[in-house]
Amino acid sequence: MEWMAWTWPTALFFAGIAVALTVLALLHMKYPSTARTGALGIETMRGDRFFIALLGSAFINLAWIGLVDAPQYGALIVCGLFALCVFRWV
């Protein structure tokens, strides 16, 4: 495992994703999510929206690094808003 060079922040990040996936799976068993067609014109389930939010957040973070000269938590705030929008409207 040493060669993988784990660090606390990255470990927490992956643990977070694992937890989120588990929660999504459990939620799906309890309250099955229904597909709906949102603002993008594609049918999405809860898992799709989670994926879109996550992928979009990655790009927002990268754009923030490249374009804005401000602390990174600013990007995280934008990501939070973005995720909310995705879950609400997509």
């Binding site: 060669w3 993988m4 898992g47």
Partner: protein, 278 residues
Amino acid sequence: MREDHAAGKRMPKIRLSAVIMIAYLLFLLVPIYWLVSMSFKSNSEILNSFTLFPDSFTFKNYQTILTDPSWYMGYVNSFIYVSLNTVIALLVALPAAYAFSRYRFYGDNHLFFWLLTNRMAPPAVFALPFFQLYSSVSLFDTHIAVALAHCLFNVPLAVWILEGFMRGIPREIDETAFIDGYGFAQFFTRIFIPMITPGIGVTAFFCFMFSWVELLLSRTLTSVDAKPITATMTRTVSASGLDWGVLAAAGVLTIIPGAIVIYFVRSYIAKGFAMGRV
């Protein structure tokens, strides 16, 4: 009258399509011809005189390859890991493809997409971590390391193609078999697999091919003992002065296995490509 008219109209069209076909085939075959003809020339003929046909027809280049272990072991190594990879990919992909083609389950679409991304991911991204991974478990420079690494794109590919073939088999067959008292394993090996033999053949062909043609990962994960022929070729180019004749002969020999295999699956090849998914 109308028939004549139609035929008269079609005649030049057929000729046009034949012309296009022939032009395209020439475009495909001339570079290959050049490689083959060069493999029968001596190096001095290649460098000193420009000939369309080999002047002094020689097998010396092939002789070099077939007698020098540093050359022919490359083919042996490639064969070993390619076969290993094909077997592994088929074994794990068969049940999975069956599951995808017959049932819905939690996350099936997402799982399918995740498999797809691995087929689409550039090997360059994985070269470095694979190198570290297989070094850390001391599998570096072994055949199994390359075989496992190639599973990254071949397993999703196998699942994909097999799923396409299995979808074409009516589900009633499964149900009848289960009613007749077959267990799942028995049904799968005795009834289902014989029914999709063409599909398995096509899948094996594509796994074989994609593992055979891949260079980056196999070169990164090997140094001496498991060095594949493709790596041998590129290293020879950079190291010694160029012996074009031998290089061409080595190239011709790498084409032959594919040409043999494709002969056997020729009638399924278009279907295999259409399944998808390659």
